[in-house]
Symmetry: C2
């Protein structure tokens, strides 16, 4: 018997993805679901939608509520208090390439470390030292992984993943897709997406 | 001892408000919270944000996912299958004025009826007959209420409520605000908002 699969499309600059990244593995484990952790870049997807920045920056009143909501949600989930990195959104290209270069089983741990650096400590995730520290915290070889992240194949794989996300209807992050074509958007739908994967497997 | 209060800002054209309207009273009751049902118009608020229609119409891929999500959420909550009214969004002015003209205790029942007409049967809520049927289903006097809905005082009260919502930071619906200044946005935050109202009362 194969385990149900759920594809987890994530973008390192996304606030609510932080909440999903910190919880996803434990929730999936409890339900016996295999999560396919797939880093993407929302930049090209937002650009195709005619956006030039985060929707939270486009609408300040919505952005202010998002940060307050993040604080409340983080407290509710037992996560560290939320820190807003400068600038927001962060440039996520390096982190996304590094995650792409990692073997799939190493991605959840790396992602958790990067998102904690970004939204619990306000660090700059485009800084190779911050990314190296995240790799080291997971016992992953920093120098070698950063080199692989710069390979043309890695860059092409990240572009392909972003295009696959777009083709699957992804318009924001986090998003979750099932083999039978359902798309669940947002940290608030993580449980529903996992349940769907189990019930329709 | 006074009951904790939560202000429930609702817009009759809003899809996710349907989900909140059908559940809110029972959830509030169970927690001992008094809900202040306050109809508003998002039109002026969206216009101030530079929008001319529903954000779900501005971005078709997001809109398509919203309708699918509504279907899934309605099924999960045991609500009737979701029907998309034409046009979407509906013109909600009449329903909002009628709700404003009603005494507060009559608003929840009327709102539930209107939202079922709109999103379970696809009826046109700007049609006085549809609104009259919703009033009649609640045992409310249709002709008299419609007449009161057209009074200048009712129109002014609805405008004032919309301005109060905007002043409270409301940028979408459903929204919930607490006396200590918290704003919770979305049907997904209804439980959190009620819990906050109870804990900080």
């Amino acid at each position: 018997m194969t385990r149900p699969v759920l594809t987890f499309w994530f973008e390192f600059a996304s606030t609510y993805t932080h909440l999903a990244v910190q919880r996803a593995e434990a929730l999936a484990e409890a339900r016996g679901v295999a999560l396919a952790w797939t880093p993407i870049l929302l930049g090209p997807i937002f650009a195709a939608q005619g956006w030039t920045t985060s929707p939270f920056n486009q609408l300040p009143v919505k952005g202010a509520n998002m940060w307050r909501d993040m604080e409340r949600q983080a407290a509710k989930l037992g996560l560290p208090p939320v820190v807003r990195p400068e600038p927001f959104p962060q440039n996520s290209l390096l982190a996304a390439r590094v995650a792409t270069a990692l073997p799939p089983e190493a991605r959840p741990g790396f992602a958790r470390e990067v998102f904690l650096a970004e939204f619990a400590r306000g660090e700059t995730i485009s800084d190779p030292q911050v990314v190296s520290a995240a790799l080291a915290a997971c016992g992953l070889p920093a120098e070698e992984t950063l080199a692989r992240a710069a390979d043309p194949e890695t860059k092409a794989a990240l572009r392909a993943a972003t295009e696959a996300a777009q083709a699957a209807g992804v318009f924001g992050a986090p998003s979750f897709t099932t083999p039978d074509g359902e798309l669940f958007w947002g940290n608030d739908r993580l449980e529903d997406a996992l349940d769907w994967a189990v019930e329709r497997a």
